[in-house]
């Protein structure tokens, strides 16, 4: 009973991320069609769908890496501002982890993690470094702190990228296919770090092709195809009894691939 009450209370809170009637075109291609989505604090939402379905674009609109043509996006109830200082400030509160890691090639691992806090939050150098080392330890790459990105494996680089995002103390983190550029043997180590974050209650939006991971980590699954959210479901229900034919077809193709 108490739990039930707790749940209602939570859903009444302002969502951390909210998309209302979002539309986007690339030229004549309609990539997002009337997308509505809200993510509550502490929720892990996993977006899945076939390649080219618009799921990455959807994820990238949330911190305005991609602009939208119509609709509204709100972070903590505030509208996403136009490009400028205010948007920069807002981006610093929403972390992003990219498919291709995107570490700064000319900086050491340690500096990659400290540069955000130093430049944007004006954290003193010593404090930023101590926290960076703590975060690097947490993702298991603290021994590599003084190397440059090119000397690390893909899995290590992605874990550094996660540490770099965490250093900003974000309200939410967006993961845009975080393991798609990794060799198979390195996918696990990155997913473990993300699973750990989920357990700690981090609010996350994750675009992924890793279905087992999605099922394990998600509070909610969003299935996207042709720019439309076709299904929102709990992971159990989605993977056992998807509501839509297209989701069933999609899951069946994956099963076929695994065999």
């Amino acid at each position: 009973m108490a739990q039930e009450q707790n749940k209602t209370e939570r859903s009444e809170q302002t969502p951390v991320i909210e998309l209302r009637h979002v539309d986007k075109h690339y030229g004549s291609l309609h990539v997002l069609k009337d997308v509505n989505l809200s993510v509550q604090k502490g929720e892990v939402v996993v977006i899945i769908g076939p390649s080219g379905s618009g799921k990455s674009t959807l994820c990238r609109t949330i911190n305005r890496m991609e602009t939208i043509d119509a609709g509204e996006i709100l972070i903590d109830g505030e509208h996403l501002p136009e490009e400028g200082k205010k948007l920069a400030q807002l981006r610093s509160e929403v972390g992003m982890v990219f498919q291709s890691f995107n570490l700064f090639a000319h900086k050491t691992i340690l500096d990659n993690v400290t540069i955000g806090p130093r430049e944007v939050l004006h954290t003193p150098k010593k404090e930023a470094q101590e926290e960076a080392l703590r975060l690097l330890k947490r993702v298991g790459v603290d021994t590599q702190a003084h190397k440059v990105p090119a000397q690390l494996s893909g899995g290590q680089q992605q874990r550094v990228a996660i540490a770099r995002t965490l250093a900003m103390h974000p309200k939410a983190i967006l993961f845009d296919e975080p393991t798609s550029a990794l060799d198979p043997e390195m996918i696990g180590e990155v997913l473990d770090v993300i699973t750990e974050l989920a357990k700690e209650g981090m609010t996350m939006v994750i675009v992924t092709h890793e279905m087992n991971f999605a099922r394990r980590v998600a509070d909610r699954i969003i299935f996207v195809d042709h720019g439309v959210i076709l299904e929102e479901n709990t992971p159990e229900a989605f993977f056992t009894q998807p509501k839509t034919q297209r989701a069933r077809d999609f899951l069946n193709t994956l099963k076929g691939r695994d065999k």
Partner: protein, 219 residues
């Protein structure tokens, strides 16, 4: 006159000329790096008028002959009531042209940086200028050390424009005309200057290679 005779009579003047060339080259190169960087930031800025102006600058100064620019500075500007000293006119000409090339080299250096890194910088909350300062320029500079080395040599050669105006002390090219009006130095007088130019260029090249090896970015 042979080299020995020339050096014993004009040795001190050669030294002064060499120093003048070095001074001009160093000041012009530093100014060109600063101006070139500013122009480059304008060229990639989100503000269109800035991009247009900066692109126009590069098109003009990459293509104007140095002597034509010097003539404009010395003979045309006085009509606008701007009267520059000869030294200033040479320095400005020797700065404006290399700045355009500097910007071109930085632009090609920037193209080696993936857009992903810039997106990462923006996603951390850096403003346009912060991402330029922390991510773009440092990498563009590191990957353009070798072209910048060439630019320094080119700046030194451009500084020979100084020979076209009366300067005291004059530069390494000016000294040749000076000697040939005061004595019969012939081509030997020029040979000495040429050796000094070449020697300097070789040293610049060596130092540039060393720096490049040190700062090159592992990819």
């Amino acid at each position: 006159m042979n080299i020995q005779a020339l050096l014993s009579q004009f040795g001190e003047k050669y030294l002064l000329a060499l120093l003048t060339t070095y001074k001009l080259t160093a000041s012009a190169f530093i100014l060109a790096l600063i101006l070139g960087t500013v122009i480059t930031i304008m060229r990639v800025s989100p503000v269109k008028p800035l991009r247009v102006v900066a692109d126009f600058y590069v098109q003009i100064f990459r293509n104007i002959p140095g002597s034509a620019l010097l003539i404009i500075l010395v003979y045309a500007l006085p009509y606008l009531n701007v009267i520059l000293s000869y030294y200033a006119a040479v320095l400005i000409a020797t700065t404006l042209i290399p700045a355009a090339f500097c910007s071109e080299y930085l632009m090609s250096g920037m193209n080696t940086i993936g857009t992903g890194q810039i997106e990462a910088a923006r996603s951390l909350g850096m403003t346009f200028l912060q991402s330029i300062k922390n991510v773009v320029i440092p990498q563009a500079v590191r990957s353009s050390v070798l072209p910048m080395t060439n630019l320094l040599v080119a700046t030194m050669l451009t500084s020979a424009l100084a020979s076209q105006v009366p300067l005291n002390p004059t530069d390494l090219t000016g000294i040749v005309s000076y000697i040939n009006t005061h004595a019969v130095g012939g081509v030997t007088a020029f040979l000495i200057s040429a050796i000094l130019y070449c020697g300097t260029a070789v040293i610049i090249g060596q130092v540039g290679n060393q720096i490049d090896r040190k700062v090159r970015i592992l990819r």
